[in-house]
Symmetry: C2
Subunit: 186 residues, 2 copies
Amino acid sequence: MRQPVDLPKAYRLLNHGPTVLVSAQHDGRQNVMAAAWAMPLDFEPPKVAVVLDKATYTRELVEASNHFALSVPCQAQARIVNAVGTHSGRDQDKFAAYGLHTLDEPAAHSPLVSGCVAWLDCERLPQPEQEGRFDLFLGQVTGAWALSRVFSSGRWHFEGHDHLRTLHHIAGGQFFAIGQPVDGSK
Amino acid sequence: MRQPVDLPKAYRLLNHGPTVLVSAQHDGRQNVMAAAWAMPLDFEPPKVAVVLDKATYTRELVEASNHFALSVPCQAQARIVNAVGTHSGRDQDKFAAYGLHTLDEPAAHSPLVSGCVAWLDCERLPQPEQEGRFDLFLGQVTGAWALSRVFSSGRWHFEGHDHLRTLHHIAGGQFFAIGQPVDGSK
């Protein structure tokens, strides 16, 4: 079941470095792309940073709408993540082409991708110079949700749910799934 | 054995989202801190982005020296990563306090931390406004190395070396080790 995540803990959805799907919509058009280059930027209000190449259609929609969402995909979606990361949505609706659905989440400004394990809805913090020079986009998180089966009380717990483990892209469609807990506090 | 990594493939050392150690030195002083908020920013020349809080001593040294290094620690170092991430180096030399050694790598401008599995030596790309407003630092990678036992020919391969798996911080000294390969290309 999808549950809201307290905004001051939203950074924990990205803190361990998963590859994400970036989505946006504007004026009846929507698109989704994969991005390994995304990270938290602040705790409260939570902010994120993500790299969006100039060639991407998603970037056009982010610039037009001033909103984007980050959906955190899982092991079961590896082929889809690779596919949406290697094809452009200029010529076809990638949601339709890859059988992707969006969640019915009225509070979200951008499409949240079904089948993922966490979602961050973000408002762009326009930085024209850095966007132009480094393709670096910043956003403030305005809503966050996670699948309670693998994230609750601010913690990920993937035991017994290997297919829901987050994906961490290496290159060329090769990923790692996130692995075992390691306690560094003792 | 430590081997140089071709700079156009240096992004692969960070692409899967590991927590890193950020280190810098200036005028005989050095420091190291942990950072989960780091990511690649470009392929060639390779660039990185990392968040350095205003309170950190490492940030002072980065601003003074215009250089920093990212070392990628491993499972065997979880306690040290947590320790250097929760104590400040203003009062004590963290390298001495935690028994950390630096590599003898003449090409590096900043200290590279022994026992890690990969290293990126970076030159700061000063962005005073973004550094001040978002604590966001950018750097160009000028040298990269990795432990050939777990990274060679541009690929990570951790099989049989669990203690060398990269660490992915969740919160409060709790990490995940990176897990199993997942092929999304077929």
